[in-house]
Symmetry: C2
Subunit: 137 residues, 2 copies
DNA sequence: TCTTGAAGCTCTAGTTACTAGAGAGACTAT
DNA sequence: ATAGTCTCTCTAGTAACTAGAGCTTCAAGA
C-alpha cells in the first residue's frame, strides 16, 4: 500500500492531479487509512500509470474513461479502443500540419523585421495587415 | 460604423468572442448607439483584425495585449515585439517536435492491434504496459 | 511515550479562451 | 405599427488542472 505521495512518485502524476482524477471517477484508492489518508494498491498504481500514459499521448479524460471501462471488460470487441487510438492519431496529424503552416508564417514574421522602432516593425505590420499574410486565413 | 454583427462578419470573430475581448480590455467599440448597442469604427475593426490574426497564429491574449500596447506607441524599440514572435516560434517548433514523437508512438499503437477482443487488444496493452513504449516517458 | 516536522486532508477559487442560454430591449423594413 | 431579426447583460459551463487556507495524521527520533 502506497501513500498518495508515493503514488505520485511512482506514476509521475502530481498529487493534486491524482486527487482530481479521483473526483472525476477515473481512479480511486482501494483503501483509506484509519486517519482517512488514501492508500493505493499496486493495481491502483497500474491504473494511474495507464492514465498517465494515455494523457502523455494527448488523449482526453473522456476517452481515457472509456478505455478504462473497456479494459475492465476483456471480452468486449476491441474495435472501440482501436477507433479511439486511430481517431486521435488523425487529430494529431492534423495538428502537426496546422502547426507547420504556422511555423512557416511565424518564421517569416519573426525573421523579417529589420526596423528599430515599432513604427517600422514588421511583426506589428504583419499582424495588422492581412495582405502581408501569404496564407490567407 | 458597424454593428457587432457586421464586425463579426468582417473579422471572422464570433459575436460573443468580440464581447469577451471587450471585457478583457483588448478592443472596445468607440461608440454606442442611443439604444446602447456597440458601434465599431474602421480602426476598431482593424484592431479586431489584428487580434484575430495574432490568435490564428496561436499567440496568447496576454501577448496580444502587449503587442497592441506596443503598436500604440510607434516610437518604442520593436525588440519586445520581435521577442514575442521569436519566442512563440520556438514554442511552436517544440510542439511540432513533441507531436511528431507522439504520432510515431500512436501510429504504432493504433496499427499494431490484430486482436478481436479487449483482452488481446494492443491499444489497451500498450497503454497499460510501460515496457511496450519505445520512447520511455 | 512524547514530540516535531513532513505529508496529507477538504474545500474554495483561479486559470485560458471561450461558449451557451435566459430574458429583455433595440433596430429595420414593410 | 408591427414583425422579425439583432443586440443587450448576466450567469454558468467547458477542460484539465493548479494554488492556497486551515486543519489533521503519520513516522521517526529522543
Amino acid at each position: 500500500m502506497f501513500s498518495i505521495g508515493a503514488a505520485s512518485r511512482k506514476t509521475g502524476i502530481k498529487i493534486p492531479t491524482i486527487r482530481y482524477y479521483e473526483t472525476e471517477g477515473l481512479a480511486s484508492p482501494s483503501e483509506r487509512s484509519s486517519g482517512n489518508q488514501r492508500r493505493y494498491s499496486p493495481p491502483d498504481i497500474a491504473r494511474l500509470t495507464f492514465i498517465k500514459h494515455a494523457r502523455d499521448l494527448g488523449l482526453k479524460l473522456d476517452d481515457i474513461r472509456e478505455l478504462l471501462h473497456l479494459s475492465a471488460n476483456p471480452d468486449q470487441p476491441c474495435a472501440v479502443a482501436n477507433k479511439i487510438a486511430a481517431d486521435h492519431l488523425v487529430a494529431v496529424q492534423e495538428r502537426i500540419a496546422k502547426l507547420q503552416a504556422l511555423e512557416t508564417e511565424l518564421s517569416r514574421i519573426a525573421h523579417g523585421c529589420t526596423g528599430k522602432t515599432v513604427g517600422e516593425c514588421y511583426v506589428i505590420e504583419a499582424l495588422s495587415d492581412h495582405a502581408l499574410c501569404q496564407q490567407g486565413h
